[in-house]
Structure formats: C-alpha cells, structure tokens
Amino acid sequence: MKLNEKYFPYVLLLPLLLYILLFFFNPFFNALKLAFFDENNKFTLIYFRELLRDPRFFSAIKYTLMFAVTIVPLQLITAFLIALFINRNFKGSKTLLFICSIPLAISDLAAGLIFLSIFTEHGFLNSFFYFLGLIKKPVYFLSYENIPLLFTSILIAEHWRATAIVLIILIAGLQMIEKDYIDAANVFGANFFKRIFYIIIPLLKPSIQSALIIRTLFAFQMFAVVIALAGDMIPVLSGETYFWYYIYRNSHIASCYAVVIIILSLLLTAIYLKFLTYKEPVYENI
C-alpha cells in the first residue's frame, strides 16, 4: 500500500507523459530527421543548402525578425499604459478590461480578415481619408508596390490582436504589487514617473519577462495575419514552411524552415533570460 501511494502520482501522469512522447518528442525528432537526413537515413546538408539557395529564405528571416522587434515592444508599451490605466480601479475599469480582452478570442486568420476590410482599396480607411478630404483616389495599402505600407498594415493588425495577452499578464502582475510600496513612495514625494520607473517597472519585471518571451516566440510563428493581408508578398518563416509543405510538397525543406524557427526561438529565450533575469530590486536612490 505504501509503495502504491508512492507511485500513484506517476500513474496519474501516465497519459500526459505518453502524450508528450507521441506529440512533442516524436514530431520534434522527426523534424530534425527530415531536415538533416535523406531518404536512405544518411546525414546530409543538401536540404539546408537548398534552403540557402532559396532567395525567399533570407527575406523570410528578415521580415520575421523585423516583425518581432517592432511588434513586441509596441505591444509591451501599449499594454503597460492600458494596464496602468485599468489598475486605477475606477468605475468601469472592469468593463474596459473585458473589452480589451476580446481580441484574445480572435484568431490570427480572423484578425487578418478583419483588417482586410479596413485596409483594402475598397476599405474603410480609404473611405475615411476620402471623407476627410485627404485623398481623391484610393491608396493601395496592400500592394507589392509599397512594401513598407503593407508591412505597417500587418503590424497594426497583429498589434491589435495580440496585445490583449500582454495586458492580462501585466495587470495580473500589477495587482500583486503591494500598495505599501507605492504609498511609501508617495509619502516621500515621488512623482508619477519616479513611481513608474523606480517602483512599478522593477517589481513588474517577472511579468514583463514572461510577456516578452511568450510574445516573441509567437511573433516568430506569425502566419495567417500575413497570409490574409499580404498573400505571399511578404515572406515569413511560418508562411514559407506552409508553402513548402502545402504547395511544393517538400517536407524536408519545410522541416528546415521549422528548425530555423526553433533555433531562433531558443536563441531569443536564452538572451531574454540572460538579460532580464529577475533580481530583488534594491531601493537606494528614490
């Protein structure tokens, strides 16, 4: 009976462990196998060489990184400001929190299609500009001719969709900060900015770190928003994985792309953990 008791938790975890084996380890090692081994199970780099010859590969890396470094900080700032506002606990702040979490339910594909109705040449933004008298003819936001504009449109859509999760994480973090710290700072005459930079941000660091890691990893997987707004005009890593598998039916190259995504993800997580590791803040110079 005693022995039973000791192994019981592992029995409970058995289905989960089996699942992890089949649906995480199995595909993970298979991806490596597809990327590095040929049909005869011999190690090869031909698929990676082919990948390097694909001119879209480098633009995919470029655009994926560009999206990550623009969207994530933008989301963090927006979410932080909204979180500070909601955290004031005024009448209606709960309602606002609910409104802000609506995009949490919206998929990347749906968000792309929603913003399509805004950005196409027949879309609402063009009509709005016309209404203001700014333009006479529609502007082509989503065209090959103007990649920066296209990039910005995708950025706005993705920023709109995925800021909610950062907001929720930050508000949860803010609520855990003890009011005493802020009251003490007030007593000693700290102004709004001092309170933010010397108290709130240092205490919020663990939440900021999780939000950063989660959002960056998902930014590397940006897919349907880009496809819905830009088709194949702006290559990103996940999109290329999809095209290589779906259109060219080449699971080797598709796996190479997937492997590149995970390498980037691991690198970035390591960097974040190194530079943002949480230390107990020291209050000296408030």
Binding site: L16, N30, I99, L113
Partner: protein, 266 residues
C-alpha cells in the same frame, strides 16, 4: 481639477474601447453588406443597406457548412481528450509531492513553446501510417497537444486553491479517494474547469496552421477559409472573418472573470 480628471478618464476609456471595438464593428458591417456595397468606393461611413447576400454566399459555397461542422467536432474531441488527460495530471500536481514535480511543470510549459510548424509538418508522415491524415481525430490530437500545457497549469492552480482538508475529512468518514475527488474536489472546481474548457475550445476553433497541413478534404472552418483565400471574393473573406470570430467572442464573454486567474500564474 476633479472634473478635469474625470473628463480625461472618459476620453481615455473611449479611445481604448474604440481601438478594440471599431475593427469588430467594421467587419460586422462588412458582413451584413450586399456584394455591391463591399466593392463600392468611397463607402458610406455609416452603413445604409442591410443585406444577407454575403452571408448567403458564404454558407452556400462548397465546403463551408461541412467545415463548420468539422470545426465543432474537432473542438469537441479536443475537449474530451483535454479533460481526460489534464484532470489526473493536475490532481497529481496539486495533491502530491513527488520527485521531479517542479521540473516537470516547467517542462510542460516549455512544450507549449515549440513552434506549431515544427510539430505539424513531421506529424503528417506519422499520421499517414496511422491513417489519421485528413482525419478529424488527427487534428483534434494535435489541438489537444497545443491546449494541454496551459490547461494543466490552469487546472493545477484551481485545485491547489481548494483546501485538501475537505477531501481528507471525507476520507476520515470512510470515503474512498476517488469518491472524495468526485464528490468534493470536482464539484468545487467545476466553474474553473468550465473556464479551462472554454479556453481549450477557443484554442482549437482558432487554430489554422496544423489544421491546414493535416487535412485535405475534411477541413476545419479556419483551414477552409485559409485554403480559399486566393480564390475567394472579398465578401466571402469578410463573412469568414466574422463567423470565425463570433463564437469565440461569445465564449470569452462567459470566462471574462477567469482570465486573470488563468493567466496570472506566469
């Protein structure tokens, strides 16, 4: 001064709400517009006609209805699988101390960080040998893999918050462990489990990459829409975006009070 503050608060509130709600409003207007209205330029900023033309077109086009059904079936299977795997695991995490518990928890969270493309592409050949390719069960299996890490973490959090003493009292009075779980812990954590399941539903309903890679004929709604992006007119896309969003938005309304608890654990 006080009035000024109140005024600033209302303005900020309005700006933030508009930023979130306006796009949802605009896709709704687009979906309830006629085909002509969709291509008209410049548009009326306030909608003039109300038409079900786009919606009729969307639902009468080949594959839409069946993909709608498929999405529901996949989400339903996913819910069942998540339920049966996450409840025992969360029970183990919250009620026992065993070797490797904390590292296993972190490891489970890390599995969620694996990119979906990395999981989906190699799974195709695995699925073909098991004849799960182009099969709704196959899609549900990978959706379960995506939903499990968060649902287990969320559920462990819910179980931990319910004191162990209630169950222990029941066991003292002669209930078995299973009975104590079924009669005490399960009913007490039911609202939390419901919230977790809704979140799982949204995850499955919204997932597009794996569903598109792993199916050919038996598409889910999002895979169906993605597949037709190149070939479909604007009004089809708008209706698609609208009907992808509506169920998920309705569901998130029900779990609005749980969102903080679910994501606060990070």
């Amino acid at each position: 001064m006080k009035i000024f503050k109140k005024f600033a608060q209302i303005i900020t509130f309005t700006i933030i709400s508009l930023w979130v709600l306006l796009p949802v409003f605009l896709i709704t207007v687009s979906t309830f517009s006629s085909k002509q209205e969709v291509y008209k330029w410049p548009k009326n900023l306030l909608p003039k006609d109300f038409s079900l033309e786009s919606i009729k077109f969307f639902f009468s086009s080949y594959g839409t209805i069946s993909s709608f059904k498929n999405s529901l079936i996949v989400a339903f299977i996913t819910l069942i699988l998540v339920l049966f795997i996450s409840i025992p695991s969360a029970y183990a995490f919250s009620r026992y101390y065993f070797k490797g518990r904390e590292s296993l928890k972190i490891f489970i969270l890390m599995t969620r960080m694996l990119p979906i493309p990395l999981l989906a592409v190699p799974l195709t050949s695995f699925y073909i040998t098991l004849s799960l390719y182009d099969n709704l069960l196959g899609v549900a299996l990978i959706h379960t893999a995506m939903a499990l890490p968060f649902s287990i973490i969320i559920l462990s959090g819910i179980f931990i918050r319910i004191s162990k003493e209630y169950e222990e009292a029941a066991i003292v009075f002669g209930a078995s462990k299973l009975k104590a779980f079924l009669k005490i812990l399960l009913p007490l954590s039911l609202p939390g489990i419901a919230a977790m399941l809704i979140f799982t539903f949204i995850t499955s309903w919204n997932e597009v990459f794996a569903a598109s890679i792993l199916t050919v004929e038996n598409r889910t709604l999002s895979a169906h829409i993605l597949n037709l992006l190149d070939a479909s007119p604007l009004y089809f896309k708008y209706a698609g975006g609208f009907f992808l969003s509506v169920p998920a938005i309705i569901f998130i309304f029900f779990i609005r009070n749980y969102l903080m608890k679910m994501w606060g654990g990070f």
